[in-house]
Amino acid sequence: MHRRQFLQQTTLGATATIVTVGVQGWAYRSPAQTAKPKRLIVVFLRGAVDGLSVVVPYRETAYYEARPRIALPRPGGEGSILPLDKRFGLHPALRSLFPLWQQRSLAFVQACGSPDATRSHFEAQDYMETGTPGIKTTRDGWMNRLMATLPGRSPVRAVNVGSTTPRILSGPMTVASLPTGRNATRLTPLDRSQIRTAFDRLYNGKDTLSQAYQEGQLARQEILKELQADMQMADNGAPGAAGLAGDARRLARLMVRDPQVQLGFLAVGGWDTHVNQGSSKGQLATRLNWLAQGLATLVEELKPIYGETVILVMSEFGRTLRENGNGGTDHGHGNVLWAMGGPIKGGQVYGQWPGLATAQLYEGRDLAITTDFRSVLSPLLQNHLGLDQAQLAQVFPKYGFDQSVKIM
C-alpha cells in the first residue's frame, strides 16, 4: 500500500469529520499553494519573559525611573540597546537577530497579550495555548484545532519539540514529537526492528488501536530519518552552541526535508526573573543571547523554505514595570510578541503604545495590553495559511474576527 493511500484510509474515529474538511481544502486550493506549503512555528517562552527588556521603550523616562538597576542603557553607551526606531531599541544580547530586522523579516508587536488578568503562570499559559482566555474548560489547543482546518492529513503535520505534548497541540489530531537535547538521538525500544516487528504483528488490523499504533509508527519513522541524518551531521563537527540551537536545527531540518510538516512548536523555559534579572549583562541577558542564537540557527537552517515560514515568539504575560527589592521583576500584564519569516512585513514595531506613566499602566503597575494576541494570529492564519472565517472561528471560538494588526 502506498503511503498516501494509507494516510487517506487511516482515520481514527474522533477525526473522521476533520478529514472531510481537509479534502474540501485540497479542492479549493491552487496548485501553486500546495506545491510550496506554508509553515508556522511557535516558540513559547515559559515563565513570562520581560518584554520591556526585549523591545525597550528608551524614550520613556518612566522606564528609567522605575528600573534604576535593570533598565537597558540608551543608545550610544556601553552595553546599550540597538535602536529599532525612534521609540524602541533591542536588547544587546539579541544582536544576532538584528540583521533580520534590517532585512525587514523581523517585526514586533508591543503591548500585546491575553486579555485575561490572571497573574498565574499556569492559567495564563493555558489561556494562550487553548486560545480561549478566561475559559478554563477548553481542553484542546489552538494549534491542534488549526491542524484540523489544514488540507491533507499526515501523522507529522505538526511536530512538537519535547517529550510531553503541550496544551497548545493537545486534541484529536495526531502530533509527532521530536525529543529535545540529549534525548533527541536516543533510540526508544520500539525503534529496534525486532521489537517493532513483534508489535507490528500485534497491531496489524484495522481496529482503532491498530490504526493508532500504525499512525504512531509512521510518525516515528519520519522523525527517525531526520535524527539519523542529524547524527551523521553531528559527526561532521557542526553541533549547535547550546541545547536550544540543536533542537531548533533538528526541527528546521525536519521541516525542510518533509513538506508535510506544516506546524512546529518549541518551548523554552526559565524566564521567571524575580531576582537579579540584570541589565545588558546578567541572568536575563545570558538567556536572551542563548535564545537569539537558537532563533538565528532556526532561520539559517530554514533557508530553503524561509519564504513560506512564519515564526512567532510569545510568552504568557509580561512583568511589572517597576523592579522589585531583589533586582528582579514580578508577574505583570502586557508583553511583546515577536514575528519572523519571509512573509512578515518586518522592520516595524506594531501595536498601539499605551505609555508608561502611572495612569497609563494596567492596575498602576504593568504595561497595558492594546493588542489581543488573537488579533495578530487571526489575520496571519487567514493570509498565510488560507483559513476562511468559519475556520478562524473554529481555531479561536468566541472571538470576533479582528484585522487590526497585519504583520504580513
Binding site: 478554563k136 521489537i195 496489524n204 493508532a212 499512525e215
Partner: protein, 494 residues
C-alpha cells in the same frame, strides 16, 4: 474458540513448572471483570483468590474496605512518609516560609514543599498498587477527578495530598453530602477555585486583594460538582451562590480557628448578609448557615443525582452508559439521600454491569495503565520518580490536571498515536527490568533485576487473549513476550 488458540496457549505454557500447567485454564471472565473494574487489575494470585471466595463476596468486601486487612509492609512504607500527616495550616506555613527563603536566596527548608508533594504522590501510588482495598483506591481516583484540584497552582502544591486524605478518602463510600462539604471546606479547593478571595464588595472586610465577588467556585460547584452543565441553573443562581459563599475561605496560619477546622475559616466581615434567591428558594442572610443550606439543596437536587449517576456509570460500565442503568442509579441515589455505597451496590448488581459486552470495553487511562502494569508484574520499585515521569509524558501527571473538570476516563480522551507508542515503549522497558529506578537499584545492590516472565504474567492476567494476540506472542522471542502482553489490546483495556 479456534483450535489454534489452544495450541499456542499450550506452547506458551510448555516446559514450565507443574503449577503453571495447573493454571493453564483461562480465568473466569466474571472474576477478571471485577478485578479490572473494582480495582486496578489482578496482581499475581488475585484471580485464584477471587475465584475461591466468589465475585459476590469480593464485591461485598470491597464495598466495606475497613473489613479488609492492609498488609503490614504497606503500612510500614506509608509510615515512613513523614509529611503525610501534616495539617493544612502547617503546610501553608511551610510553603510561605520556603517561598520567602527562596526569594532571599536561601535554601535551608526550601525543599519541604517539594518533599510534601513527592510524598503525597508516593502514598497515592503505593496504595493504588499494593492496597487490597482496591475499590477504595479506584474511588479515590474517581472522586479526586470529580472534585479536581491542580497541584501546579501555588499553595496547592503542598495541599493536594492533605486534600486527598482528608476531603476525599474518608467519604468515598459515605454520603455524597459529606463528601461535598469536605471538599468545600478544604483550603486546597478554596485556593484552587479562588473562593478564599470571594468577598462582598460593600462589606467591612473588603480591602486589598479581597475586593469583590468571585464566581469561580460557585460556578464549578454547580456545573461540575453537583448539578451538571445542563442542571437547570442560571447566571442569577451563580451570582446568588457566589454571594452565599462570600467570606468562606481558609485561615492565615496564626488564626486560632485554623487548628480545629483543618485550616477552614469563615470570615463574617467579608460576607454578604443580604437575602438571596437560589434555585428558586429564598435563603435568609445569616452567615455560615447559608452555605450549609445551599449545599443541602445542591446535594438533594435531582440533577445532582443524575449527574453523579451518569459519571459513575461511565466510569464503571461504558463510555456511553446505558440509559436504564443511569435511571436506576439516579433513583437509588435519591431514595438513599445520596448514600454512595448503596448506589455502587446497585451498580455492581445491575445487568448492565454484568453484560458481557462491557467486559474489557473501557480503554485504560494512562494512570490505570501504569498502575495495572506495576500490579500485574509485581514490580517493587525503590522510588516512583520514573513512574511519575511516565505519567507526565503520557499526558496525565499525578495531581496535574489543570482544568477543574478533572481527567476524563473515556477512550476519546486517551487513545491516539502518540499514546500507543509511549505505552508500548513503557511496556517494553518495564518488562525487561530496565526502568530507571530499577537500574538505579541494581547499582546499589549489585544484583541484576530479572526481566518479567511472560508465562507467569499471562497466568496472573488470566490467560485470556484473542487469537491474534496469542499468535503475536507465540511468534515472538521469549524475552519479548511479557512486553507484548503488557502492550496487548487486552491489557490496554479494562
Amino acid at each position: 474458540m479456534p483450535p489454534r488458540y489452544w495450541i499456542i496457549t499450550l506452547l506458551l505454557i510448555c516446559g514450565t513448572s507443574f503449577s503453571a500447567q495447573a493454571a493453564s485454564q483461562p480465568a473466569d471472565p466474571q472474576v477478571l471483570h471485577v478485578l479490572n473494574r473494582l480495582g486496578y487489575g489482578p496482581r499475581p494470585g488475585d484471580i485464584d483468590r477471587v475465584a475461591t471466595i466468589g465475585v459476590k463476596r469480593y464485591i461485598q468486601e470491597q464495598l466495606s474496605p475497613d473489613s479488609i486487612q492492609e498488609p503490614a509492609t504497606l503500612t510500614a512504607k506509608l509510615t515512613q512518609l513523614e509529611t503525610l500527616k501534616l495539617p493544612p495550616t502547617q503546610l501553608i506555613q511551610s510553603f510561605r516560609l520556603a517561598r520567602m527563603q527562596r526569594q532571599q536566596g536561601q535554601s535551608a527548608t526550601a525543599n519541604l514543599p517539594r518533599q510534601v508533594l513527592e510524598e503525597a504522590m508516593t502514598a497515592r501510588l503505593l496504595r493504588a498498587i499494593d492496597s487490597p482495598r482496591q475499590l477504595q483506591e479506584v474511588l479515590t481516583d474517581f472522586w479526586y477527578n470529580h472534585f479536581n484540584v491542580f497541584a501546579g497552582k501555588g499553595l496547592d502544591r503542598v495541599l493536594v495530598g492533605s486534600y486527598e486524605q482528608q476531603a476525599i478518602r474518608p467519604h468515598t463510600l459515605g454520603r455524597f453530602r459529606d463528601l461535598l462539604e469536605a471538599t468545600a471546606r478544604h483550603p486546597a479547593m478554596l485556593f484552587y477555585l479562588d473562593n478564599w478571595q470571594n468577598t462582598a464588595p460593600n462589606s467591612s472586610g473588603a480591602r486589598g486583594r479581597f475586593r469583590g465577588l468571585n464566581e469561580n467556585y460557585a460556578r464549578e460547584l454547580m456545573e461540575l460538582h453537583t448539578l451538571g452543565v445542563k442542571g437547570g441553573y442560571t447566571q442569577q443562581d451563580v451570582i446568588a451562590l457566589a454571594r452565599i459563599l462570600t467570606g468562606w475561605g481558609f485561615c492565615r496560619p496564626n488564626q486560632p480557628e485554623a487548628v480545629t477546622n483543618n485550616g477552614f475559616c469563615f470570615e463574617a466581615q467579608r460576607h454578604d448578609f443580604g437575602d438571596k434567591v437560589f434555585l428558586g428558594q429564598t435563603i435568609k442572610g445569616s452567615g455560615i448557615a447559608e452555605v450549609e443550606t445551599a449545599l443541602d439543596i445542591l446535594a438533594r437536587h435531582p440533577a445532582t443525582a443524575r449527574h453523579i449517576s451518569y459519571k459513575l456509570a461511565q466510569y464503571f460500565v461504558a463510555d456511553r452508559p446505558p440509559q436504564t442503568l443511569v435511571e436506576r442509579l439516579t433513583q437509588r441515589f435519591q431514595a438513599t439521600d445520596g448514600d454512595l455505597r448503596e448506589v455502587l451496590r446497585t451498580l455492581f448488581q445491575s445487568p448492565e454491569f454484568w453484560d458481557t459486552q462491557s467486559y474489557g470495553a473501557k480503554f485504560k487511562t494512562p494512570y490505570q495503565y501504569v498502575v495495572s502494569s506495576l500490579r500485574a508484574t509485581g514490580t517493587d520499585l525503590p522510588n516512583f520518580r520514573p513512574i511519575l515521569g511516565q505519567l507526565q509524558q503520557m499526558g496525565m501527571p499525578l495531581y496535574g490536571c489543570q482544568t477543574p473538570d478533572g481527567y476524563k476516563n473515556t477512550q476519546d480522551a486517551w487513545l491516539n498515536a502518540d499514546a500507543m507508542t509511549r505505552r508500548l515503549n513503557f511496556a517494553t522497558v518495564l518488562a525487561s527490568g530496565r526502568l530507571p529506578a530499577l537500574s538505579a537499584g541494581i547499582k546499589a545492590s549489585g544484583k541484576p533485576v530479572p526481566s518479567v516472565d511472560g508465562i507467569r504474567l499471562a497466568q496472573t492476567l488470566g490467560d485470556r487473549f484473542s487469537p491474534n494476540t496469542t499468535t503475536a506472542i507465540a511468534q515472538s522471542p521469549p524475552q519479548l513476550r511479557a512486553a507484548l502482553i503488557l502492550g496487548s489490546p487486552e491489557f490496554m483495556r479494562r
